[in-house]
Structures are given as C-alpha cells and as structure tokens.
C-alpha cells in the first residue's frame, strides 16, 4: 500500500477501480446470497469480463459462476426461469450489442412477468451489459441502448458512472429489487480508479448531484458524467463559470424533481448522453422539463450525444462521432456566456487518451 492509499484509508476512503468495484460486489453477492449465480460468455475465463468476475468461479465454485454457450436469448430465458424458481441470476454481455439477441426475453418476458400475470410472479435478476467506445469498436461494439430499455415499463435501467455507484447500488439491487435490472456499464470506466467511501452518502437508485453549481445544469449519463465533471472544473478555472452536474444514474426512474429544481435555479441546460439524441435520454430530459413548465429554460438547451449514424471504425471519424471534451466545455460556456464567449477551449483530444491520465477523485 502506498502512502496516499494509507492516508485515504485512514479517512474512511480508499481507491478502487470500476472493475474492482464490480468484482467486490459480485464476490459479496455470491458470499451473502446462496441463491445468486453468475452466468455469461467467459465469466470464468482468465479475462473474467474485464476483471469483474476474475477468480470467482474458483472461489465460489463452478455451479455459482459458469460459462454458457453462445445463446443470448436462451441464457436470458434460463435466467428468467431460474428467478421464477427462487434464484437470483446475474448475466453478462461483454458488449451491449450482444444483448440485442436477448431482446425477446428481456422485452417480451422479463419486463412483463410481474404485470402481465397480475403480480403473481416476478423475476428479479441483474443483466450486466458493457458499452464499448474507442479503438475502433465500430458499429456493433459501441451501442448504448439505455433509451431503448428504459422505454419499456417493467425494466429498471441504471448506468453507474463510478465505483461508488456500483458499491452502493448493486448490493441493494441484488438484495431487494423486485424485478429485472439492466445495468449498462461503460468499458472506458473499467480501468479507472475512483476514490470510494464505505461509510459516506450513498448513491441512490435514482439521480444525484455530482457537483453543485449555479450557472447551468448539466444532466449526464455514465462516462459523460466524468466528461461533464472535467469540463465543469475547466470552465470554473478558466472562466469562473459554475456548472451543476447531475448524474442521471437511473435511466428508467430518474429523480426528475431534482433535475427540474436545478434547472429552475439555473435556467440553462446541457444534456450529455452516451447514445443518440433522437428519442433518447436528451429528448426525455427536455420532455420532462417542458411538461412541468415550458418557461424553466431561458434559452434553447445544448444537447450532446453520438452523431446520428452508426459508429464508424476509423479513428479520425470516431473522434468526431462522439462529443469531445472540447465540445462539452463549449456547450457549457455557450449556455452561460453565449456563443461568442471567446474563452480558449481545451486541446482537442480523444477521450480515451485523456483517460489514460485521468484518475478520480469522482
């Protein structure tokens, strides 16, 4: 343990990677609940879903953590059946795109079981799916389907943006949540270290303020929360602009009152999402605000998401496909000081390169 870690440990905090938080919560769930099992392609191999299940089969046994054939629909249906019989299955998809093969089971069955049968049955289970980005993930390793899943009543959809969010939400979901939960994890977050507290204020199964501010509200999801936090620090340092960052966190059941109250104070909105804007999270944020009070916004909002195309593989295209740090900063400044703000923007660079140097504390 190095000096910094020792100091933080003494203050009730420690440094934990996103993958490490996942591994801890998976391990704890297996230890705490005998009805928990984990299945998915490669959960027991040497890569262990990017380190989030490594060693668990050895520790808890092959009956609790096991590989499955290539059978996304069948696996999800098997998880539903096991849940109906009293188990708590955790399934994994190393890319969200593969979960599309399980859409029939997720949308037609898991989402419906409780309601369609009048509350007679429910299938509590956790589906972990990973969104890819950068290094040429291309069109089928990059999709971020939170809006698709959250569109369907019966599903609970979360997007943890930090190790703390995982430590706080996953145990509560596994122990108490009555229905199927889809957690959309972001591959870019896996190797990042975060400072976590085991005793502090818990991340709720809803939304929370990740940074307080007064000039503009930035509603963000997943890795875009980190982008927004970095941008907020930049605009604070360079221009004295105070941005409030709300981590939407729960996509299916966000705290809209929290969002509306923030926008009521700031009158300005940026939404930074990991997916497309069309019929997506950004559209839903705007709908929620408009139906509450169309005068909440002083001006049109700035909306950041993927370009309206399948994701290209070429780096030169991918770099302009996703909103960059440059664009996030520009959106915040434009909201507060207008388009001609004249404030120098951070050097354009791909987010992955930035994250190689990025380390908490968020």
């Amino acid at each position: 343990m190095n000096v910094a870690l020792a100091q933080s440990a003494s203050q009730g905090t420690r440094v934990l990677s996103y993958a490490g938080a996942l591994l801890e919560t998976m391990d704890a769930a297996l230890a705490r609940h005998t009805n928990v099992f984990i299945m998915g392609q490669g959960v027991d191999d040497f890569k262990g879903i990017f380190g989030s299940t490594t060693g668990l089969a050895e520790k808890h046994g092959a009956k609790r953590v096991f590989d499955v054939p290539l059978m996304e629909e069948g696996m999800t249906g098997i998880a539903i059946g096991a849940a109906l019989a009293g188990d708590y299955p955790i399934t994994t998809h190393i890319r969200a795109d593969f979960s599309f093969l399980a859409m029939n089971q997720i949308l037609n069955l898991a989402a419906k079981y409780r309601y369609m049968f009048g509350g007679l049955m429910s299938c509590p289970m956790l589906i972990r799916i990973v969104v890819g980005r950068s290094w040429g993930q291309g069109a089928q390793h990059s999709q971020s389907p939170q809006a698709t899943f959250a569109h369907f009543p019966g599903l609970t959809v979360v997007m943890p943006s930090s190790s703390q969010a995982i430590l706080d939400m996953y145990p509560a979901i596994i122990a108490r949540h009555p229905g199927p939960v889809i957690s959309i994890e972001h591959r870019l977050l896996y190797n990042l270290d975060f400072t976590v507290s085991d005793t502090g204020k818990h991340v709720p199964l809803g939304s929370y303020v990740a940074r307080e501010g007064t000039d503009v509200t930035v509603v963000a999801t997943s890795v875009m929360v980190l982008e927004a936090l970095r941008a907020a620090q930049y605009v604070h340092d360079k221009a004295g602009v105070s941005a409030e960052i709300i981590d939407l966190n729960s996509i299916s059941h966000p705290d809209w009152d929290l969002v509306a109250a923030s926008v009521r104070r700031t009158g300005r909105l940026v939404v930074a999402d990991t997916s497309w804007l069309e019929y997506g999270v950004a559209a839903e944020v705007c709908r929620q605000l408009v139906v509450r009070d169309p005068r909440l916004l002083k001006q049109p909002p700035s909306l950041l998401g993927m370009a309206p195309a399948p994701c290209p593989t070429a780096k030169s295209l991918e770099d302009i496909y996703y909103p960059s740090q440059h664009e996030t900063v520009d959106a915040i400044l434009t909201q507060v000081t207008g388009a001609g703000h004249g404030i120098p923007l951070p050097v354009e660079r791909s987010m992955t390169e930035g994250y190689k140097r990025f380390r908490g504390p968020f």
């Binding site: 069948g74 098997i78 539903i80 037609n108 069955l109 409780r114 369609m116 009048g118 049955m121």
Partner: protein, 308 residues
C-alpha cells in the same frame, strides 16, 4: 388392462376442458370475453395425461393455448372465467386474459403468446432445482412450430450440457397457424434431440389420455433422474388457430384430417360417460361464469400496479 378409476379421473378433467371451451364458444358472440382465444378442443388428452403424470409440485411452462393445461394442473375455474372476462377476481386481475393464463399456486407458470419463449424458462427452473438438489422437474409445453425457433435449439443444448431435469413436451398438431409441418421443417425432432444426446419418444395416440399419462410417467422418471427428454405427442386442433370457429372452408386443410382423430376421441366415442358427467360439470361451469359476471372490472387503481 385399463385402470378404470384413472380413466374416469382423466376423462372427467378432459371433458371439463372441452365443456369450458364450448362455453367460451357460446359466450364469445356476446363480447363478454374481449380478447383472442386459442382453443385446445381436440388436444385435451395431452394436457390431462401430462399433468396427471407429473407431481403436483412439478412446474409447467405453457403457451397461449393453455386453457387445458390451466385446468389440468388444477387452476381455479372461477378465477379462470373471471380472467377471461377481464375482471378483478381473475387469477391475474384481468391483466393476463386467455393468452397468459397462469396459476403458480399449482405450478402452472407463465404462458406466453410469443412462440417458444417459455422453453428456456423451464430449463432455468430445472437448473434451479438441480442447484438445490431438489427432485422436482420442469416441463415446457410447446407446439411443433416452436421447435423451429432458435431458442429451442439453445435450450436443448444447454439442458444437455448441464443435465438439468427438464421435459420438453411437444404438442404436435401439425400446424403453425395455417402452415403444415412438412413445409416448415427440414429436420426430424427425434434426430435433432439425439444430436444433443437427448432421448425422445413420439406418441401417435394423442387422443389416448392413459397412453399420454403413461408416456409422461416414463419420461418424467428419466428426467427426474437427471436426463432431459423430448416427448412428442401427435394431436389434433379441431378449431381455427385463433377464435371460436372452424376453418376447413378456407381450404388450407380438410376436415378429413380431423375426422380421423375424432373417431378415436374418447370424449366423443365414450358418449355415455360424457353424458353422465355433463350435468355436474355444466353446473361447475355455470358457477364459474356467474362468479366472473359478478366480479367488478379493474380500473384506474389497478392500471399502474405491479409494474417493477
């Protein structure tokens, strides 16, 4: 030698299913049942023979054509009619209706309108049983068309690999809506199962409740011992795919195919026994219908309950 007591028990349940569905036919023009109905008239022997060959705590996962399995597994008749009527006293408070009949209290788990979709659920329940060292088994009931879906293949593969106690029960009425089996399938079900090392049996006498029961007992014993099994039972759907009428006049099939089956159908052949049991069963149905009629319709307070 025919076991008379067992025959009468199965016959009574099969006749109840037929009379219930004939009552549905009679009620349907009144629009009291405002949802699609998929009748199992002609297929009753499969439901009663299978359910009688299982233990009460075995789980059955079924399809949109499950009036028969609901009754045979022991679901309440009054709650079934109230469900068909879309009333609060329905088994699922009216949210399920005919296509999603269920009665987990007696082991009939979800019925799905999406073909083949509950096949993996039975495999999952069987996996749970095995994990816990239970000797219960799970049964998935599906039609011949469902075996064309990819998830059937996935489910067999997983069941064989993990050696879970699941019985794959195929009700072969030869039709997927209006399409005949030979134009749909380039494989033979038994050979397909054998490719996974899964044993199978095809029973041609799908009208014979005792034969179905016996085949189920034998298959269930194998499954309970840890080997998944495919049991295929030839049967006959007398009515149209969905709705309460017949469909011979559309020309895609002839009544001759059904008539051959009807000539062996005990509910028709054994008319004396049917006649003797009918009054009592009709009274049971009258009471269930009256229960449904008296039950209130759900409204605003129920619309948004039990979602998550």
């Amino acid at each position: 030698m025919k076991d008379e007591a067992t025959y009468r028990r199965l016959f009574r349940t099969a006749l109840l299913i037929r009379l219930v569905e004939e009552r549905i036919i009679a009620l349907y023009p009144s629009d009291r049942i405002q949802s699609p109905v998929h009748l199992s008239i002609g297929q009753e022997a499969v439901a009663v023979g299978v359910c009688d060959g299982l233990r009460p705590d075995d789980l059955v996962f079924a399809t949109y054509r499950s009036h028969g399995f609901y009754i045979a597994k022991g679901g309440r008749l009054d709650a079934m009619f109230a469900e068909l009527y879309g009333r609060t006293d329905g088994i699922s408070g009216g949210k399920a209706g005919s296509m999603h009949l269920t009665a987990p209290q007696v082991g009939l788990m979800g019925s799905s309108a999406v073909v083949a979709s509950t096949i993996p659920h039975a495999v999952g329940a069987a996996l749970s049983f095995k994990r816990r060292g239970s000797d219960r088994i799970a049964v998935t009931v599906f039609g011949d068309g469902a075996t064309e879906e990819g998830v059937y293949h996935e489910s067999l593969n997983f069941a064989a690999l993990m050696e879970v106690p699941v019985l794959f029960l195929c009700e072969d009425n030869g039709l997927a809506v209006h399409s005949h089996r030979p134009v749909r399938q380039a494989y033979r079900l038994a050979e397909h199962a054998a490719a996974f090392g899964i044993g199978s049996r095809r029973l041609e006498e799908g009208w014979d409740m005792l034969a179905v029961r016996e085949a189920t007992l034998q298959a269930a014993a194998k499954v309970r011992a840890g080997a998944p099994f495919v049991l295929e039972i030839a049967t006959s759907r007398y009515k149209e795919h969905v709705g309460v009428g017949e469909d011979f006049h559309f020309g895609y099939r002839t009544s001759a195919s059904v008539d051959a089956f009807k000539r062996r159908d005990p509910l028709i052949v054994d008319a004396a026994l049917a006649k003797a049991l009918e009054p009592e069963l009709e009274r049971e149905i009258d009471a269930a219908v009256a229960f449904a009629e008296a039950s209130p319709a759900p409204g605003r307070p129920e619309l948004l309950t039990d979602i998550i």
